[in-house]
Amino acid sequence: MSPQYLWFIPLLPFLGFLVNGTVGRRLPRAAVAGVALLFTGLSAVLVAWLWVTMKAANAPLSMSIASRPWITVPGFHVDFAFAVDHLTLIMLGVITGVGFLIHLYSVGYMAHEEGYWRFFAYLNLFMFFMLVLVLAESFLLLFVGWEGVGLASYLLIGFYFTKDSASNAGKKAFVVNRIGDFGFLLAMFLTIAHFGTLSFSRVFAQITAQPELHGGFLTAIALLLVLGAAGKSAQIPLYVWLPDAMEGPTPVSALIHAATMVTAGIYMVARSHVLFDRSPLALSVVAVIGATTAIFAACIGLVQNDIKRVLAYSTVSQLGYMFMGCGVAAYSAAVFHLMTHAFFKALLFLAAGSVIHSLSGEQDMRVMGGLRKRIPVTFWTMTVAVFAIAGFWPFAGFFSKDEILYQTFASNNPLAKVLWAVGVITAGLTSFYMFRLWFKTFFGAERFDEALLGQAAHAGAHPAGHDENQHPHSHGVHESPWVMLAPLVVLALLSIIGGWVGNPEALGGHNEIQHFLDPVFASTAHAEGALNADHVSHGLERGLAAVSLLVAALGLGFAYLFYYRKPGTLGAKSANSGLYRLVANKFYVDELYYFVIVKPLESGSNFLLENVVEQGVVNGSARALAFITRGGSNLTQRMQSGNIRSYAGWLAAGAAVVLFIMAVTSLHLR
């Protein structure tokens, strides 16, 4: 495959966006779906071809293509350039593969929705921007994709724009992301100032060529990039938008807020690893943020009742893991977890969507239960996903999560053991709340009233039904159509076998993915003062793996106890506890932000812009103009006295002036 074809990978979905966006309204639904699937599928085929090309023997380790110059000013130059290396290949595979499956799923899920064409147009737009993001060869082009996926996310979160909660959630996502983008922008400015370029290859070459470069402004750039990544990947303190983003349709949550967009931050940190390796402080910050976010979000996820909220906080928590992996310079482990997480998290969301669809819009787990027999395919695929995320062997999550935990334990970071402990506790909590979800949804007595399905959503008994206004038919609990189940099955398969490419040598595997990513992260291994593990110890690795499995089993055990054998016990005991209320209200973070940031900003800008600018300047200038005109006209009105002699007097004066002007100009006197 020649590099020329790289341009088509993002452009094909963009074409799909153009077609569906312009004429999609008038096309029949099948045509809209067909267009979207076709262009996404073609892009996936191109990526597959690219894989083949680059995995062949003697294939180059990277491929790039550049366009005509984009910005050329003295002192700064940047092109539209794409570059593909092994990291990009993994990201491309995840995006196009999982993306295509989710497109297929959406054909069934959104079948009864209004704005079908709009959904697929935005979805294709998202694919375009995400592909630009991972293919970009410069910070600037990456930022274009970064902003673009933020836009697509806003459009898709607020897809049901007639609902206040949905459009507010979209705005919240966009504004919080903007704060991160601000950090990213500052990082780019600093990069230009110090390196004179934004191209990855040139910046990293300059850094590698100066081994003595450490800390200082590199830390500043790295920390600002971390701010950007925290916004996009929903880490503390900018994670607050992700739970609200569940207002969007479930396929959106699966694609954007689980598998792809939120991983952009991780990808960006991994891509800039050369920079981060020179700043141990920044790496430690990343690790601490990751670990804190992981356990914080896991705690909140313990007590959520909406099935999608549990998964949202789970996503934040798993992203914390990936961040932690980057923070201990275990970049390939983080990317490995990114890949497996894409598989099982997308599967979890899609299966949850299938559950919601089968219950005609019900999302509250307290009124689910006993669905195991009713929707078997969904049940089994979701079971695979739950075991995967809990980290049971031999599912995908075990290998990737374990790799991160091992790298954390063995790293040179002074906080290594503490971070590891936090990670292990979080793994236990993850297992617990995922099995809680599993038991509450599929086991036990049926707590829903089949006859009333779909009508509770109408009455607005709880917020955010999946399509309460357009899904009037509630024909009992029914399994989803094959177009929704097929992606579930494929993702379930991937969740089982996806981890085997990372089977470490300690457990008898070859850790292919680490070797695959070695060319990209090779410099990390040789960096001085690096935080990565110095040596490989198989015994230690096996021991830590055993600890992880034990913790996961404990989580399963407690969930079994509290939610299967004696359901309701926890609910009764803790409902009045202050701690429970604190956690159930998400530690009041949103309220804190509101009082500390939003309210002062609002009243300050109200005072400044409304009173000072609007009333004072805008109204004031209009009033002043009117006042001047009135005053002036009052004065000149005196000239209309009706008195001939005064007219004559003014005439004489005017004639004198004209004569003077004529004398000076045309007769050239003086």
Binding site: N643, R645, G649, A652, A655, L659, L669
Partner: protein, 168 residues
């Protein structure tokens, strides 16, 4: 010698004009204006415009001023009263007048040499008389304005008749 002639009649002109200004009864002003016009006729003659001098006496002094005097008599205009009037006329007008006078005088005196001298009579054209020349130009080159002017006079007559009619 021509200078003396000029000075005498110039002084007469100005004196008449000032008298027009300072007299309170309009009939005195009218008669002063007649003096001005007669002096101007003489000055025209010194500038070689014999026809115009004659026309000035016949038309201006003989017809127009007589018309003025008639109207003064008809309307029984008396002495002027002192009314307050407008201040703008004095405030804006007098400085304007002064400025105009100063400017014009300055311009003319500045270009004194460029303007040349006036020689007494007949200097326009030694062979033809003034009246021949005027009529030649008037009835060939400027025939159109001449005809238009006659229409103008017709219109003026009609206007005057209509305006001055008694209300029926």
């Amino acid at each position: 010698m021509q200078l003396v002639l000029f000075l005498i009649f110039a002084v007469l002109c100005v004196a008449g004009a000032l008298n027009l200004l300072f007299q309170r009864h309009p009939i005195n002003s009218a008669l002063s204006l007649v003096v001005v016009m007669m002096s101007l006729a003489v000055i025209y003659w010194t500038l070689g415009a014999e026809f115009l001098a004659a026309a000035q006496v016949i038309v201006y002094a003989g017809a127009i001023m007589v018309l003025f005097v008639f109207v003064v008599m008809l309307l029984n205009a008396g002495e002027e009263e002192r009314t307050t009037g407008s201040r703008a006329a004095y405030i804006a007008g007098i400085p304007g007048v002064a400025a105009i006078l100063a400017l014009l005088t300055y311009i003319f005196m500045h270009e004194r040499t460029a303007l040349g001298h006036a020689t007494l009579g007949g200097s326009l054209n030694h062979t033809t008389s003034n009246i021949t020349e005027i009529s030649r130009v008037l009835f060939t080159e400027l025939l159109l304005p001449f005809e238009v002017t006659s229409i103008l006079i017709l219109v003026a007559i009609l206007g005057a008749v209509v305006l001055a009619r008694k209300e029926q």
